[in-house]
Each structure stands twice: as C-alpha cells, then as structure tokens.
C-alpha cells in the first residue's frame, strides 16, 4: 500500500501491537494519540488519556521507530460523546458512548486530522474485519467472537471503511499478547480497559457532576424516583431515575419477595416502572432510521440483531414504517430492550448496519 498510515495509539496493548505490526512492513507509519479527556493529575492505569498511557504510547512508538504525536480533541470529545452521554442518562435512556466515539471521533475527526497530516488511511486496534467485495467495503465481526467489537462500529460508512484498517480482526487476544511479549513491547502485561474511558467512579456520580457543571441543564432530580408496577401501584422510592436502566434488577431496594426488574424509565415524572422477568420480554423494537453500511436494502430483511454489546443475537425481520423509522420484530421475544442502545444487524459475520433503539414493541402489537 502506498502512502502513510496513521495508527491510533491509546497506549494500551491492542493499538500498540498494531503499531508494531505495521512498523515492521515497509510503509510509512505515524503514531497518533488522542487526548480526549483531560485527567489532570489523576493517575489511573488502563484508561486512555492519562499521562501514563500517553507516555506508554509515545514510548511504544519509539520502540517501533515511528514518529508519534498527541492530538488534543477534548472539546470535540466532550461535545460529541460526553455531553450526549449525560443527556442520554438524564433523558432516561442508556447511551452507548463508544459507538458515538467511533462515529464522530475516531473515524470522524481523527480520520480527518490524520488525512490533514498526510496519511492515506488510519489503523486502529479494533477487533473487527473490513472485507472488500467488489467496489464495496463490508464490515464483519472479528474472527473470534469473544473479543468482537463490530457492534460499536455499525455507524461507519463506505468512505470511513475504505480508509481504515483493523489489523487485529483475525487475531485472538492471546496471540496479540504473545506477540507483544515476544517483541518486548513495554505494554505487554497491561490489563484490559473494561469501563468507559472517561468515567472514573460511578456513572451516577459522573452524571450528577457533569450536569452540575452545565448550567443549561438546570436542576436535575435529586430525590428518589417513584417505583410503580405496570398497573400503577406505587411500590416505593428508589434512587433518582437516571440511576436505572431497562433490565436492571439490583439497586431497587424494594425488599419484594418476587424478583423485580426495571421495565421502563420515565425521566419527566422521575418514575421507574418495574415488573417480573417475563414482563421484560418484548416482541421487537422501534428504532431510528436504519444506517446501512453497504447498499440500502428495501422491503423486509431477515437478519440477526444484537440489542446490546454482549447480546448473543436473535433472528429477526426488519422493515421501515411510513415515518422512516426502523421496525425490528424478533423471532423469539427478548428481554432488556433499552432505549438509547443500538440494534445492530448481522447476516452471518457481516454487519449490515443498525439503528438506535427508541422503544420496545409490546407483545402482540
């Protein structure tokens, strides 16, 4: 491949191995790190943007013999990822900030900056695959499903896929770690970052802190949410509504003999609706207009849908209503359809695209 490739380097294991792999070839490589969230003096390992991780990225780049730069994108990250995340929780939904970050930051602003810096394409440590089929670029799940990150990439476009590479898509985590050990990368023993990179501590505290710092949000509910069942019977009081997500069982503090789950969150009323596990089951979902990665498909499409990152997937039929919204009908009812999450459609390993979940389709509707 001709021209320069920019590797997005977080200082973690995966992107470091990508930098190493590409730097062994004969193409020109530059390592770029993003400063997304200024942690100031806070020292937290395994989280991007800490001084320690940016330092690791720089030193790995040195080991690879490639130039390395850090790009400041805190403002854009806040605007495109953090603020919508907080807004999402305050609206009673369960946002997926990693998808927004991929769409707007990594494959948006970062790709644009990398091109301005003279790169023809970017490479990241995502576990997913890009397959060229004729003049189309297809997104596929990683070869090994346990690390697959394709769910978070469903909003990518042809343009973005055509200028991106995922060198880890065919690898297992063990292979990646062994490679790092073998060549002596300093991050070989680094742990996984499982939580959201910008939240340290609890999500609730984070949302409250952020809301307090944004005057336009105004007062948010400080008192506990009213908990009721579907019939409207008030069962008690819990924490404020934004503490809850559909399908959640813990933290309701009701002491009821039967196991109760959150069925819905009403932000305006500061109310949580709860019910038994069987009440969580829904027949499908309504979502935002479909984003198709390849050609837009019309009529009813059969696919497998994942309704959250760790969902096993269920067969479904997908169509569009008159308003252009996506209608997904499951072959078997599913529990935990949470507004704000993404519904991502697969055929085999291929990601067709997806939509943002707006509401559940009630049984029999």
């Amino acid at each position: 491949m001709s021209g320069m490739t920019a590797v997005a380097m977080s200082g973690g294991l995966d992107s470091s191995v990508v930098a190493w792999m590409l730097s062994r070839g004969d193409e020109e490589i530059v390592g770029l790190s993003m400063l997304l969230w200024d942690r100031g003096e806070e020292v937290v390992h395994g989280r991007c943007c800490g001084a320690l991780d940016l330092g690791d990225a720089r030193r790995v780049a040195e080991q690879c013999g490639i130039p390395h730069y850090t790009l400041r994108m805190e403002k854009e990250f806040r605007r495109s990822v953090v603020d919508p995340f907080v807004d999402g929780y305050l609206a009673g939904t369960t946002p997926v900030p990693c998808t927004r970050c991929n769409t707007w930051i990594k494959f948006g602003l970062f790709l644009e900056r990398a091109r301005q810096l003279g790169a023809q394409r970017i490479a990241t440590g995502h576990y997913a695959r890009i397959v060229r089929a004729g003049d189309q670029f297809e997104l596929h799940a990683a070869r090994y499903r346990d690390k697959d990150q394709s769910y978070y990439l469903f909003e990518l476009t042809q343009e973005q896929l055509s200028t991106s590479r995922f060198p880890l898509g065919e690898k297992t985590k063990d292979e990646v770690r062994s490679l790092a050990r073998e060549v002596g990368l300093r991050v070989a023993e680094k742990g996984e970052s499982m939580e959201l990179c910008f939240v340290s501590g609890g999500i609730r505290e984070f949302v409250e802190r952020e809301a307090a710092a944004r005057p336009e949000i105004g007062e948010i509910a400080a008192e506990g949410a009213t908990v009721r069942d579907r019939a409207g019977t008030v069962l008690g009081r819990a924490e404020p509504y934004y503490r809850y997500t559909v399908g959640q069982r813990r933290g309701l503090g009701l002491g009821s003999p039967e196991r109760l789950y959150v069925l819905g969150v009403d932000a305006g009323a500061n109310e949580i609706v709860v019910g038994g596990r069987e009440e969580l089951l829904v027949a499908g979902l309504m979502g935002s207009p479909m984003h198709w990665i390849g050609e837009r498909q019309t009529g009813e499409v059969e696919a497998t849908v994942k309704i959250r990152a760790r969902h096993a997937g269920v067969r479904c039929r997908v169509s569009t209503d008159e308003a252009g919204r996506t209608v997904v009908e499951f072959d078997q009812p599913q529990h935990g359809v949470a507004p704000g999450q993404a519904a991502v459609l697969y055929q085999g390993t291929r990601v067709l695209g997806g939509c943002w979940i707006e509401s559940a389709l009630e049984n029999g509707s």
């Binding site: 530059v30 730069y69 850090t70 400041r72 644009e112 091109r115 301005q116 810096l117």
Partner: protein, 329 residues
Amino acid sequence: MAAEPLEIVFTGSGTEANNAVIESCCSVSHLETSGHLVVSAFEHPSIEESAARFEARGGRVTRVAPGTDGVVDWRDFAAAMEDDTRLACLMLANNELGTVQPVSQAAVSCREQSVPLLCDATQAAGKIEVNVVDLGADFLVLAAHKFHGPLGAAALWVSGRRDLTPLLVGGGQERRRRAGTLNVAAIVGLGTTCELAAAELDDRARLLAGLRDRFEAGLRTIGGALVHCADAPRLPNTSHIAFRDLSAEVLLIRLDLEGFAVSTGSACAAGAAEVSPALTALGLEEDEIRGSLRVSFGITNSPDEVDDLLAALGRVVSSLRQGALVARR
C-alpha cells in the same frame, strides 16, 4: 550585564529564581498572606502560577494586559501599583511573542513608588543587551539554556538595594541566599555562554534578524499568513505567525515530519498545545490563536535552512488548503 559578582545568586533554573523572588517578597508559601502583586498578563508560568497561588492565599493580584502589539504600556503598569504592593513583575521579552517590554520605564516608576521590580530576562538574554544598571530593576533572572548554554544553571541578580530571603535553606552557599550544592559544571557553562554572547551579541542579532526577516518576507509568497506584533520591538530570533484558515497543530506535525521543529505555544509547551496565555492576553480571535505558530531561529541556522523551511511550509499549506477545498465540495 553590568552586575557585581556578589549580586549574583546561582540557581537550578529560571523557574526557581522567579519563585524565590516572589516567595521572598510575597510569602506565597504561607497558608495566609496579604497585600498586592502586579504582574503583566503574559508572564511565564513560574510567575503566573506563583501569582495565582498568592491570590488563592489571600493576596490581591493585578494583571496588566499588553496592547495588541504585544507590549505592555508602562504607564498602565505604573498605574497598577497600590499602597501595599509588595512586588511588580515585568518580563524583558515575552517568551512566546518575543516582544520586548518597557522594563526601564516601568522600573523608574516602581522606584518612585518604592515597589521592588522583578524582571524575568530569561527569553531576552543572549539575544538583546541585558544591562542591570540601565534596566533599573531590583531582581533579574536569566537561564543558560536559552542562549546555547547548558541545562540546569540560571542566575538571579539581586540588586544591592534588596535582600533575598532564601527559598532553600540548610547551607551557607551563595552568601546564605540559596542553600544546596552548586552545579559547578553548568554554572561554568553559564559563565562561558554569557561571555560568548556578550562578545558576539551584535553579530548574532544581525544574523538572527536576517534569518527572521528572510522568513517573514518569504511568507508573503505563501499567502494568508499574519505576523503577530511585527511592528513592535521584538527579539531578533522569534517570528510568531498565524494562518487563520489552518490548524497550527496540524502545521506543527506536518513540519515536524519534514524535519522542522516549530512550536504552537511557548517552547516549553511543545507537543501538547495549551491555549497560549500570550495570545489570549493579546485578545486574538480563537481561529487566529488556533492557527498560530512560533518559529525561532538559532545562531546555527543558515539562510538555506530558512528557504527549506519556507518550501516545506508552502507545500504543507497548499496541500491543506487543497484538502479543505475537496472536503467542502
């Protein structure tokens, strides 16, 4: 620099020297302090952050803003003094813009009002004449590495009129004004670099100004570049420029990849571009700040290198502008 040997206190850095003077005059390290401090609004962080700490602990600070030419009006500076002003700080040349400040005029009025004046000459030393008698400040700071000397040695000149309470105690070094074993090798280097600078000052200034002027003249062929503070008295080595339509962060990296090291802020902040305090103090628009680059020339640079830099800058700027056109289509 017309200083007496006994008036010099060697320190480990300019930052240490600035901190020592402010501590001595303003008791910044005390949990509670009081009184008033005057600084220009674009002092080096070693002064600005000391001022902020002074403020946080009960002191009052007046920050005197420069004009749009990057120069503080000494009358504004003089007018900022109050009855309980404990110290005034005015740098000799700004560390980002290179603009030379009216220290001697400010010193006259500080003396009239009995306010000690600290002049941070770190950026100026070795590039323009630094004469403590002519400047008339009470304290003056310079650091060796800013003019081809070694890292780790700085000089704090304390006027015979003033005392200095030591920041570091526990030894009788520097006539009890700075305890701790001296970094003799670096201090000898500082002495040598001062001697060389004094002997070659005029030649160096001519060389540097020639390189800078060549650069700024060449910029016109690239188009769309502003030179900040072009009409103000400036150090001969510094050119601070802005492309309103481009991001300095991108320019900096593209130039670095081509082998040219320039900066978006002060040299200390290279790599992670903070919003420049100097440019903010000038009151520039955000897009102008975002597109600002500092280019500094050294005595080892040649006119050919300036031409190479201009060629690289021209390539980068036109490729970015083309890219922006494509993106807009």
